[in-house]
């Protein structure tokens, strides 16, 4: 299971990188989203999966899964959500002000 998840995360990283290298602003933001998904999956997989019950003490299980990566990922989800939202609005303003979403055209002043 861990190897499987890691490989999935690797594919998400590949696609994310490819999208980030694209010249289209919306695709870049999508690529960043893929990156955060892949990172979360990888964080889960590194520590071992399905090693026990959910980390709720009411379960009264013999062993629980590691709660630390879950806490870390929860923080990370919120932060990457904030980042994505901000990037989206920034992209939106770029469209509105400059009328383009092509990174090749976003090059500052041409006379430089």
């Amino acid at each position: 299971m861990e190897t499987f998840i890691t490989i999935i995360a690797g594919i998400l990283f590949t696609v994310g990188t490819y999208l980030i290298l694209n010249k289209n602003l919306l695709r870049i933001i999508l690529g960043i989203t893929l990156f955060s998904h892949a990172t979360h999956l990888l964080l889960m997989a590194i520590n071992g999966l399905k090693k026990g019950a959910a980390p709720l003490l009411g379960e009264n299980a013999a062993s629980y899964t590691d709660p630390v990566p879950q806490a870390l990922i929860l923080t990370s989800i919120v932060i990457s959500f904030a980042l994505t939202a901000f990037l989206l609005v920034l992209g939106y303003r770029t469209y509105v002000e400059l009328g383009t979403d092509n990174m090749k055209q976003l090059r500052g002043n041409t006379h430089e």
Binding site: F4, L12, F13, N24, M44, T75, F81, A82, L83
Partner: protein, 797 residues
């Protein structure tokens, strides 16, 4: 005793007061106030002149940065004293001269004197410091103040060019010298010159000893305008003439000479030291004298003559350093004669060159030009100037009855000593010296006869020439009379200044208490040296007579590849190459920069994984996978791959949300209920946001940009994916220590919570949560501002 420190620092302390005096005392020329400082310093240091012969050198030390072994140590022996007297003595005369030269109403005198005092203090500091780093600090200050003074008339293009050039060359030399000093510190563990001398042979075995020597040479040769770094000095002639007289003939260009003399006890006796200094000195001597002849600007002529004379002094110091070589210990006193000649000529040169520069300044001031071709026949109009220039020139040419004659004779005997003692093929040293002296003779004649003799040309001159005011003539008069006095009474300074100086430069040669006394006499019998001088006069006269023919040959030599051109082209090329280089990789395109970053990730992270054999792969610990889990995984992969190939952005957005929802399903499988909840909510909101953005897209770009397969990007992407996958796989097997999760499983007793993840978030590691809230808040504020803020006042175009 600490008066010495005050003496060094007085010029610096005076700087703030100069602008005040300039601004509030209009009636009196600011120079009169400034004059007090060099006069005081001259008298202060003159006291040591008489005590210097008997007592030990003065050493004073004040810790500056003791932890780094940097102490502000003053070491006053006769070598330092000689330079201090030159600096303060010529300084006094130059300030006096400048009072009449610089106009009170037209020039920015406060800047002029402030820079001059900065220079004087820096120069005093560098010749009195015993600590190499303190010496370096003062050394760079002389470069800075010289830069400021050369560009004193900063509205002129040539001044700025000359200042920049001298700055580049002397600063890069100075920096290399610093490297040399640090290498010396590495070899010995001390920055103190005295301690380095005591360490002697011990450090000369170190592998960094010779590199240190050559790095220091670079500093010395750039500062003293030696070949091939002499090119800055002629361009520095754009400075006001008092500055040229002071900095670029008497003091700053001799800083290199001082350092060579000061370091001779450390490096002297080594073949590398002897060869480099002697050869470079001789080349400079020859090229300087040869180039001086073709100059039509009087100041440029003097600049090349300075270059050549300092080359002469350098070569003599080189020959003299052989006195420390064990091989020639029998004739070490003969070599010491060369050092004596160097020191004597150093004094002579400062005197007559200062005088000549001041005379050129007077000519410029009174006629409005320094061009030889426009001057002539001034002997009747300016008889006093003629006399003084003649004294200076004849001394420079080495004619009796002027002091230059004595030092030139000593120069020849030094060169002859080298060839006699070290083998017959060293005969090239006296020959080069002799030929260069012929050229020296010729340009000295040009200086006198082209300017003062011949037809009087009143028309092209801007002003009606007349004799200079008396005040202006005082300083050159004093210098000229010193030239004559030193010829008739050379022993005034022989035993009191020259002898202890030579002993300070070559302490090891006199260590065994050998008796050696300097006695210079104007007449020393018929010998080779005298014959050489006669030959110079005869050949020089002939050459001067046929100068026009000679010059034609001379100017037909192509000058395409002069050093100046090499310097200029080098600067242009460096600028062009760096521009090209930056334009080559700073393309202005974000995807390109991102691909640099990704390539570095692949190369460095992936490379180290490969090189350190970090990759481990082991399936045995894996949890089992159910069929539906495979299905979920393949859906993610399919959605991701579909994103690459789809043309529509709407589908891309939906594919991302598919991936997000499946990730939350995975969280369910991984027994992470909180994560699954959060991920579901967040994914829903993000998808809504993406769709909102999509709605507001410019109509044109909604569908029309199909994603072309970019092979380069694809390779980078696959590389990044592979690297991260391999790292992910390897880390699963690297369990260096147990998880700390056991501690948190006690959360009910520790925090009263049954949900461990929540307990971690708000209790154990609540700081993370607080800052994450701050991040969310900041993003909210940012989004609000982005939407609300419009271009109101400011318009870009």
């Amino acid at each position: 005793m600490y008066l010495l420190y005050i003496a060094i620092l007085i010029p610096f302390f005076s700087i703030p007061f100069i602008p005040l005096l300039y601004k509030y005392v209009h009636r009196i020329h600011t120079g009169w106030f400034v004059l007090v400082i060099p006069v005081l310093l001259l008298f202060f240091f003159a006291r040591y002149y008489f005590v210097q012969q008997t007592i030990e050198p003065l050493i004073l030390s004040v810790p500056w940065i003791p932890s780094l072994n940097i102490h502000f140590t003053i070491y006053l022996d006769s070598l330092s004293l000689l330079f201090v007297l030159l600096i303060t003595g010529v300084g006094t005369l130059v300030v006096f001269y400048s009072i009449f030269y610089m106009s009170k109403d037209r020039e920015k005198l406060h800047l002029f004197y402030a820079y001059l005092m900065l220079f004087m203090g820096a120069m005093l500091g560098s010749v009195l410091s015993d600590n190499l780093l303190v010496l370096y600090a003062f050394w760079e200050l002389t470069s800075v103040s010289s830069f400021l003074l050369i560009a004193f008339w900063y509205h002129r293009k040539r001044s700025r060019y000359g200042a920049q050039k001298s700055m580049f060359i002397t600063m890069s030399g100075g920096f290399s010298m610093l490297l040399g000093f640090i290498m010396l510190y590495v070899t010995s563990g001390t920055f103190s010159i005295r301690e380095l001398i005591l360490l002697g042979d011990q450090i000369s075995q170190h592998s960094l000893f010779i590199p240190a020597m050559y790095f220091i040479f670079l500093g010395v040769f750039t500062k003293s305008a030696q070949f091939p770094f002499h090119i800055w000095l002629p361009d520095a002639m754009e400075a006001p003439t008092p500055i040229s007289a002071y900095l670029h003939s008497a003091t700053m260009v001799k800083a290199g000479v001082y350092l060579v003399a000061r370091l001779t006890p450390i490096f002297g006796g080594h073949q590398e030291w002897f060869w480099t200094i002697t050869i470079i000195g001789l080349i400079t001597l020859f090229i300087g004298s040869l180039t001086a002849i073709r100059q039509s600007d009087l100041k440029a002529l003097l600049a090349f003559s300075t270059i050549s004379q300092i080359g002469l002094i350098m070569s003599l110091l080189g020959i003299g350093s052989m006195s420390l070589n064990n091989q020639y210990s029998d004739s070490s006193l003969l070599f010491a004669g060369a050092t004596l000649a160097a020191i004597f000529h150093l004094i002579n040169h400062s005197i007559f060159k200062g005088c000549l520069f001041m005379m050129i300044g007077i000519l410029d001031h009174e006629t409005g030009t320094r061009d030889i071709r426009r001057l002539g026949g001034l002997i009747h109009v300016m008889p006093v100037s003629f006399t003084l220039t003649m004294i200076g020139s004849f001394s420079m040419a080495g004619l009796p009855p002027f002091s230059g004659f004595l030092s030139k004779e000593m120069f020849f005997s030094g060169a002859l000593t080298a060839s006699r003692t070290m083998g017959s093929w060293f005969i090239f040293i006296p020959i080069i010296a002799w030929v260069a002296s012929i050229f020296t003779f010729v340009y000295c004649m040009i200086l006198i006869f082209k300017v003062f003799i011949g037809p009087y040309k009143p028309l092209p001159l801007d002003r009606k020439p007349h004799e200079a005011p008396f005040g202006m003539l005082v300083s050159p008069m004093i210098l000229a009379s010193l030239v004559v006095i030193l010829f008739f009474f050379p022993n005034l300074i022989a035993s009191s200044l020259l002898e202890p100086t030579v002993k300070a430069i070559l302490p090891q040669a006199f260590a065994n208490g050998r008796e050696w006394h300097v006695h210079i006499s104007a007449w020393h019998g018929f010998n080779t040296e005298l014959l050489m001088t006669m030959g110079i006069i005869i050949l020089g006269m002939l050459l001067y007579k046929y100068l026009t023919k000679f010059r034609n040959i001379y100017e037909s030599i192509p000058l395409k590849f002069t050093l100046n051109q090499a310097y200029d082209n080098g600067l242009v090329a460096m600028e062009r190459i760096s521009g090209k280089l930056i334009r080559f990789y700073m393309y202005g395109s974000t995807p390109l920069y991102l691909s640099y970053l990704f390539v570095f990730v692949i190369v460095i992270v992936g490379g180290s994984l490969f090189l350190l054999n970090g990759f481990i792969f082991d399936l045995s610990n894996n949890a089992p996978i159910e069929l539906y889990e495979y299905m979920l995984g393949f859906t993610i992969v399919a959605a991701a791959i579909y994103m690459v190939f789809t043309k529509s952005r709407l589908i891309s957005i939906i594919a991302v949300s598919v991936i997000g929802y499946i990730v939350s399903l995975f969280f369910v499988i991984f027994r992470a209920p909180d994560l699954a909840l959060t991920q579901l909510v967040v994914e829903t909101i993000s998808t809504a946001l993406f769709l909102l953005c999509f709605y507001f897209l410019p109509r044109v770009s909604k569908y029309v940009t199909p994603m072309k397969l970019n092979i380069r990007n694809a390779i980078i992407a696959i590389g990044v994916g592979m690297t991260l996958t391999l790292i992910g796989l390897s880390t699963q097997e690297h369990h260096l220590f147990d998880s700390i999760a056991e501690y948190y499983k006690d959360s009910y007793t520790l925090a009263g919570a049954k949900n461990i993840v929540n307990a971690i978030l708000v209790d154990f590691r609540a700081f993370d949560t607080m800052l994450e809230i701050v991040v969310l808040f900041a993003a909210g504020v940012g989004i609000y501002t982005l939407i609300k803020l419009r271009h109101t006042g400011r318009k870009d175009q």
